[in-house]
Amino acid sequence: MTDSAPPASVVRVRGLDKQFTAGAGAVTALSGIDLTIAAGEFVSLIGPSGCGKSTLLRLIGDLTPPTSGSVEVNGKPAHQARLGREYGMVFQAPVLFEWRTVEDNVKLPLELLGMDRSERDARAREMLGLVELGDFARHHPYQLSGGMQQRVAIARALALQPDILLMDEPFGALDEMTRERMNSEVLRIWRQTGTTVVFVTHSIPEAVFLSTRVVVMSARPGRITRVVDVPLPQPRNDETREDPRYFRVVTEVREALRAGGGLGEEAPLASEERVAAEGGIG
């Protein structure tokens, strides 16, 4: 999956527009997006609902086609990257298959790749170890808590050892305590695997704590208003959350959001919520 000379940028988005047809007219979800993400970065996309941050993530993952502009992943069109199984995807809901055990859920992408059984078993064990769920391999999803289920989803996404991990508000449904623990967990996994991560969230502290860069977006039409570097030292831990520099970056992101009209205003139900229904038949 890695070329002999890996390109410096894993994701290259150029002049991207995305429109959805809604009834008679068209809604512009994204307009004039340019974004380059280097290998090994952890980039968060943040913005008010309706800013198209999930849509941007789905465009990077080739789950929806752009109206115009281009998305390149590893120097190839996103479509080819998807067919080459070069990324892993984690949704807000774990989307585990309830008829499969935890380990069989992790093995799903490996089966689709046609990996042989012994290799599959070994890889699944390794991935479950990575998310510290080795003891739950034979459990069924309903026997796990929400946080544990999401860790299984992460293990599944990492099973193909993807170059890029796309996460769409993965901890949005978890309580605050679990969420903070999962954030530390994700950072540990990111350090251990060296995977590039693109992470959609609407939590400012989460974005700042996790990311090397925070991409701030605004709505109608969705566009990037600012990119905030996060110069906090690695590895980050609970002390990071009390670091004055952390608060400074949180403030910076908050002000960038406010400047883009992203705070204090409730956006109407946006195209990105409708998108989930657009999936249709694979």
């Binding site: 998807r82 199984r85 990324y87 995807m89 989307v95 689709l112 193909l160 999936g279 249709g280 038949i281």
Partner: protein
């Protein structure tokens, strides 16, 4: 005795409820006959019920013991075979016809649903006919099928198939579409083929729907086989037995009642087989247990 584990207690409790309710039902049955039926006669004792309830007569509502007594008697004068033995044989025969039709119908139903889920065009074009097919009464259709395929078991199987495929088709269209759209996206993100999406996602996700339909079809296929045996000219099943005992009703109503009992037992047994298969297929999914 140590307390039973909860699961075992659940079964015991359920069994107890069944037995108590059955006893109650029989009590009401005979109670009605006691207060409003025909006179009860034994060699030493006669009871004349005070009221006249028309449906509690011996003709319309035979005594429970007369029905069970008839089971032990020969099926007709001059033979050794008991009515019970005859009915068990007939029930198995009919069940086999129904089961073949059930399996064929289920396969057709799943196949049609798979087709419709992958082609909106075919769905729009064909589903109206699938629905229309079920508005034709089986008594009208059965003679045509027999005319086409002859007075053979195959005709009865086709009728059972005809009653099975419809619930399966309708439920499976729903079931194959039931996966979370994000699960479909997940499969797309792995560049999964339609084939993989079908077998690894749509099919397993549809199983709860499938089994709901199969439980309906299990009983429907029995009805189809019984109804089809008449025009199909099949002498060995419950359908022919019912027709025969119907014509002998006035002289021996308990025979028809016994045949009806046999139909009910076959239907329930088939239902329970499907239910057992369902429990086996859906174990581990963490669904709430249910009786049906």
């Amino acid at each position: 005795m140590p307390p039973s584990p909860p699961a075992e207690r659940g079964w015991l409790q359920r069994g107890l409820v069944f037995v108590v309710f059955l006893a109650l039902l029989l009590l009401v049955w005979e109670g009605l006959k006691f207060i409003g039926g025909d006179p009860w006669r034994t060699e030493t004792w006669t009871w004349d019920p005070p009221l006249k309830i028309w449906f509690a007569s011996d003709l319309l509502l035979p005594h429970v013991w007369d029905i069970f007594g008839a089971l032990a008697n020969p099926v007709q004068r001059g033979t050794d075979q008991s009515l019970a033995g005859f009915l068990v044989g007939a029930a198995f025969y009919t069940w086999r016809e129904a089961a073949i039709g059930f399996v064929v119908g289920a396969v057709i139903g799943i196949g049609l649903a798979a087709l419709f889920v992958h082609s909106r065009l075919l769905e729009r074009a064909l589903v109206p006919y699938v629905i229309a097919s079920q508005t034709i009464p089986i008594v009208a259709l059965a003679p045509m099928i027999v005319f086409a395929f002859g007075q053979e078991v195959i005709s009865v199987v086709i009728i059972a198939t005809y009653l099975t495929f419809f619930p399966v088709t309708i439920a499976m269209i729903r079931g194959l579409r039931s996966p979370d759209p994000r699960a479909i996206e997940l499969m797309r993100s792995y560049a999964a083929s339609r084939w993989s999406v079908f077998w690894k996602l749509r099919m397993p996700a549809s199983l709860p729907y499938l089994f709901t339909a199969l439980k309906i079809s299990a009983t429907a296929s029995i009805v189809g086989a019984i109804v089809g045996e008449g025009p199909g000219g099949i002498p060995d099943g419950l359908g022919r037995a019912i027709i025969n005992f119907n014509s002998q009703y006035v002289s021996g109503p308990e025979k028809l009642w016994a045949a009806i009992l046999a139909c009910a037992v076959v239907g329930i047994a088939f239902f329970l087989i499907v239910r057992a298969a369902e429990l086996l297929a859906l174990r581990g999914r963490g669904m709430r247990p249910e009786i049906a």
